[in-house]
Symmetry: C2
Subunit: 138 residues, 2 copies
DNA sequence: CGTTACGCTGACGTTAACGTCAACTGCTCT
DNA sequence: AGAGCAGTTGACGTTAACGTCAGCGTAACG
């Protein structure tokens, strides 16, 4: 028989190995993120079990990284997504930060469009300048 | 009377201080980029003079950084923009890299759209949960 | 019952992208 | 001539984001 936790496979609590496989990260990374308070897995004894919340946050973390944000910037933005139990001032601060991020991201999107257009132009010009070696024409 | 060109080509050759002011970077950064072969200013004696080409490249470098690319990734992509004097194999390689970057950037754009939409939703929900203008004394 | 195998905790190493500092040089102005 | 700068070259320091390794615990497998 394959090793299988008993009847309690509610899949809401994910062990570290599964997390690593699912998100393509190392254990070190997850422990590092926990240390930085980006994740907060529960403990069974000494072992970590990641929650649905952790998985959602990790998705956002990795996405943020791809956009070039630092972990600290990400951590602040993340708070918006589940800061339901804080006081008004904190929530307002979170909204403020989120609006800033939003502006940055929209600017980034605009710049990205320009960059993509430019690169396309340059690429087309570059490909036109020399015969593409045996590439099927359309 | 040493040689002294009075009518200098100031428009094309920019000293380091002007570069720093124009692009909001430090001298150290420009020297660092030169060491990494991202820039190649000409020398007058020991001093650097940045060309039009350097300015164009620096624009792309800083833009690339905002997108989260590393300097090395940027350097490779940059080659597409002025690798006119290389052999066919090199140009082809440059095009290949550029196409990869392009794909990455388009994926990034798509993901950015999603992220912006999500953040907007979350922000709207968060702002709806409590009055923004002033705290409702409930 | 021993031995993999996975997981944990320090603790130190690494890489990228600069910052900082010291010592020197060559103009320019007075 | 001297002072004041802008600029240069090492050389070492710093921060973020992990990698790597040693030493230990424990749970299951054969």
């Amino acid at each position: 028989m394959t090793k299988r936790p008993r009847t309690e496979l509610q899949s809401d609590l994910t062990p570290i190995s599964d997390m690593c496989a699912a998100f393509d990260v190392t254990p070190r990374t997850l422990r590092f993120y926990e240390a930085k308070e980006l994740l907060s897995p529960v403990r069974v004894g000494t072992r970590r079990l990641f929650t649905r919340r952790d998985r959602a946050r990790l998705t956002l973390i990795l996405r943020g990284k791809r956009f070039g944000f630092s972990l600290e910037e990400i951590r602040q933005t993340l708070d918006l997504y589940d800061r339901t139990g804080s006081d008004a001032a904190q929530r307002q601060r979170a909204c403020e930060i989120a609006r800033e991020r939003l502006a940055i991201m929209e600017a980034q999107r605009a710049e990205l469009d320009v960059a993509i257009a430019e690169l396309k132009t340059e690429l087309a010009a570059s490909e036109a300048r020399f015969p593409v070696t045996h590439r099927a024409a359309e």
